[in-house]
């Protein structure tokens, strides 16, 4: 597994480096429209072809990587921390706290948050910068995306609360906060890592879908999510396999994240 972890780190670092070098690798930028070559296949000038209005797809993948690779893990981290706080604490405290927190969590799972997001967009000025728009989007995703993991964490923390070592620690007088922080929370890592890993692609894809509400990345700025939306034109995409490159890149990055996080998952020999 060590080999895979190192390979994953190398892959992630390479992707990050290449995206940071976008200004040199694609100096024309992601917005320039080569209108005479709209929808063109890969060529010497455009390694991944151009999109429907002639923008270089390779440049857009590079620049889009910056947005998605930076913000999606940040949002995933936020949702994981919130899940840990709500679910972990609720399970640890038990009783009415747990019941109440889980009822709230179930409510969160069921509500149509679409309308909250529409309201958030309405409160933002129309001329907000694309960067602020995407920051707000990922922030909202982070704040709303914790519910599934919270439930599982509550159940896990509930089991831990009654485990022998926690009882012993409690009996030996360790205060509640330290008990939770030092003894319970580390044992929640398998679920926390799972939540983090699942959230990254989920948020990248959600960001693109939130474009219908006016959130997310605004034109002409690209993101992986907006590039992946090209795959929805299935009738033509089979004949244009280069459109799968953002998907392959996302799979590689997400899988690499998992290998990097896998140290804690290793089964005792």
């Amino acid at each position: 597994m060590r080999f895979w972890r190192i390979l994953a780190c190398v892959v992630l670092l390479s992707v990050v480096s290449v995206s940071l070098a976008a200004n040199w690798l694609a100096p024309a930028g992601y917005a320039k429209q080569y209108r005479e070559a709209a929808g063109a296949p890969p060529s010497h000038e455009h390694w991944l072809g151009t999109d429907e209005i002639g923008r270089d797809r390779f440049a857009r993948v590079l620049y889009g990587t910056r947005i998605s690779l930076l913000l999606a893990p940040a949002a995933a981290l936020l949702s994981t921390l919130m899940a840990a706080l709500v679910g972990g604490l609720a399970g640890y405290l038990g009783g009415a706290w747990s019941r109440g927190a889980m009822a709230v969590t179930d409510l969160f799972l069921s509500l149509p948050w679409l309308f909250l997001l529409i309201t958030v967009r309405a409160l933002m000025p129309l001329n907000v910068s694309p960067l602020v728009s995407v920051l707000v989007t990922f922030l909202m995703l982070g704040l709303l995306g914790w519910t599934s993991a919270a439930r599982v964490l509550c159940s896990t923390a509930g089991s831990l609360r009654e485990s022998d070592f926690v009882r012993q620690a409690r009996a030996s007088g360790i205060p509640g906060v330290r008990l939770f922080w030092v003894h319970v929370l580390p044992n929640l890592k398998p679920v926390l890592y799972a939540q983090f890993w699942i959230s990254i692609p989920a948020f990248i894809l959600s960001e693109a879908n939130l474009g219908i509400l006016g959130l997310g990345v605004a034109e002409p700025m690209p993101s992986w999510g907006s590039l992946l939306k090209e795959l929805e034109g299935l009738v033509s995409v089979g004949e244009e396999p280069w459109k799968f490159v953002p998907l392959i890149l996302l799979v590689v990055v997400v899988t690499s994240f998992q290998f990097v996080l896998s140290k804690q998952d290793e089964v005792a020999a």
């Binding site: 917005a31 429209q33 209108r35 709209a38 929808g39 429907e52 209005i53 002639g54 529409i118 967009r121 309405a122 129309l126 001329n127 907000v128 694309p130 474009g211 219908i212 509400l213 006016g214 605004a218 034109e219 002409p220 929805e232 034109g233 299935l234 009738v235 033509s236």
Partner: protein, 536 residues
């Protein structure tokens, strides 16, 4: 034996006679509706899906031939419009029944018109006839003759009846008893709608065979165009209306005989600026948007040829004004599309006090020219057009933010909060008559999009348009109406309240198994002659 022989001949001739008089069974036509029909009541139709059902099932007094654009008799064998445009007399065909056998007569026409003009019925069909206050009067002269009197002249009165499907005054089935070629046989909400041949349909072809030729029409509810295209390629549906440009091109390379480009449609894509005085915008932006010089300069800076070529792959034409060139009679042929010239645009803006500094345009107070264009999400053409306009305007130093919103949020900004700067949307014209656009041009109207519900016209040119539109609405002479509306078009181009971008072509696809199809630009495009189509 001779008697037996005679009997056989008689029976054989009867069978032959019934065969000739009967319909020729010719299969099932299948296509998709892009949304759920909201109503089967033909008088309440507001959405495209319901309009499609009405077209296929409704019997009308007169029908505009979608190909020739001439008005043809249907349930009415003749009609006469009075000189003042307030009265119309219909002479109906006799011996016609609704799909449930209930006889059709002038009483049903009177009933339908009274229902249509009920003030509580707020529908586009009814409002098209409401040219002035007062009640409509119907006088049944005989079972096959009726006189209808409107309180005020109705422009293009006879043509309006193309949209009015007759209801039965007596049938227990209410709006489900129809006079058209097909009748609703089965409806699975969210899934499919099955129309079957109306056994009592009155029309026959030149050889005396009963119409329609088709046994049935199966309509699947499918909002997604990618799936619709997939199903067409697999042979699961027989035609596609309003085919996307890229799918048109893909089909054209493999099966060119299946696709049809009928030329420029009546629809236009356009952009406008917010000129509402009470809009929550900074004062300097309001000054920009209310300046005709500014609007025309923006118009000059937009490359319409590129929009047509890139976004619509050549299946669109730069738009000139509120009327598409496809509307041959009403289009003002003297008008030409705005020529693309960023240099001229910049010069005009500089003449209006703007300054171009370090690649950015600023107004006379030093405010950088930055504004947003909102459009409805999910419409890839508009999203692409907005992005291309963003780059076009960047060349003259204007920074544009493109914002796509869900449609209700966009409508709310447009009609209630007025919290927007520029909007990119389209106008769908169902018919040819400019009277349909009355509520867009009248300054007091809710749909006077750049500045709705003005108490009095805020500019001289809007007052002029009000006068001209009212004049054409009350005139009965087509030539006088055209003169008035030509001038409206000229003012629209001079003042540019709308920046007309492109007129899309009417693209469609029809499977080879469908015989008799002849796609046109007018809705419903491919199945306008559904009663004469057959499927092998």
């Amino acid at each position: 034996m001779v008697t037996q022989f005679k009997k056989t001949i008689v029976v054989a001739m009867l069978c032959l006679g019934s065969f000739i008089g009967s319909a020729v069974a010719q299969g099932e036509l299948r296509f998709c509706l892009r949304s759920e029909p909201k109503t089967f009541d033909p008088l309440k139709v507001e959405d495209d899906a319901s309009a499609a059902i009405r077209y296929l099932t409704g019997g009308v007094l007169v029908r505009m031939n979608r190909q020739t654009q001439a008005l043809e008799p249907e349930l009415a064998q003749s009609w006469k419009v009075s000189k003042d445009g307030k009265q119309i007399t219909f002479k109906l065909r006799s011996g016609i029944s609704f799909s449930d056998g209930t006889p059709f007569s002038a009483e049903d026409v009177a009933y339908t018109v009274q229902q249509l003009m009920d003030p509580a019925l707020h529908s586009p069909t009814g409002d098209s006839f409401r040219s002035g206050p007062g009640n409509v009067e119907t006088k049944i002269i005989s079972p096959t003759q009726i006189l209808i009197t409107f309180p005020a002249p109705v422009a293009g009165l006879d043509r309006q009846f193309d949209q009015v499907a007759m209801l039965s005054a007596h049938s227990a089935k209410k709006e489900m008893a129809v006079l058209g070629p097909f009748v609703v046989a089965d409806y699975k909400a969210g899934s499919t709608l099955l129309l079957k041949r109306n056994p009592n349909y009155w029309k026959t072809d030149a050889q005396g065979r009963h119409l329609p030729y088709l046994d049935s029409i199966k309509l699947d509810i499918q909002p997604n165009r990618d799936v619709e295209m997939l199903r067409f390629k697999r042979g699961e549906i027989d035609l596609i209306n309003s085919l996307d440009s890229e799918y048109f091109d893909k089909l054209a390379t493999t099966s060119p005989q299946l696709v049809h480009d009928a030329g420029a449609s009546l629809d236009s894509e356009q952009m406008w600026f917010n000129e509402v005085a009470k809009a929550p915008l900074p004062g300097y932006k309001k000054n920009w948007f209310r300046s005709a010089v500014f609007r025309r300069a923006i118009s000059q800076a937009i490359n319409r040829d590129d929009l047509s070529r890139v976004v619509f792959r050549g299946h669109a034409q730069p738009a000139v004004g509120p009327v598409s060139p496809a509307n041959k009679f009403w289009f003002n042929a003297k008008l030409k599309p705005e020529a693309y010239s960023p240099e001229a645009a910049l010069k005009a803006l500089q003449g209006d006090g703007f300054r171009f500094e370090n690649g950015a345009l600023k107004d006379k107070e030093g405010n950088p020219v930055v504004f947003s264009i909102i459009t409805n999400s999910g419409n890839k053409y508009r999203e692409r057009m907005a992005t291309m306009i963003q780059e076009d305007l960047q060349k003259i130093g204007i920074h544009v933010n493109v914002v796509t919103l869900d449609f209700p949020s966009l409508i709310e900004r447009m009609t209630q909060s007025y919290d927007y700067e520029a909007i990119l949307l389209g106008l769908t014209n169902v018919g040819l008559d400019p009277n349909e656009q009355m509520n867009v041009w009248l300054s007091s109207s809710e749909n006077h999009q750049w500045n709705p519900s003005e108490k009095t016209p805020e500019t001289a040119w809007e007052a002029q348009i009000d006068t001209l539109m009212r004049a054409q609405a009350s005139a009965t002479d087509a030539k006088k109406r055209k003169e008035s509306f030509d001038r409206v078009q000229e003012i629209a181009v001079e003042q540019a309240p709308f920046l007309y971008l492109v007129n899309r072509n009417a693209l469609s696809a029809v499977a080879a198994t469908v015989q008799g199809a002849s796609p046109v630009i007018l809705v419903p495009q491919t199945y306008w002659n559904a009663e004469r189509l057959t499927v092998k």
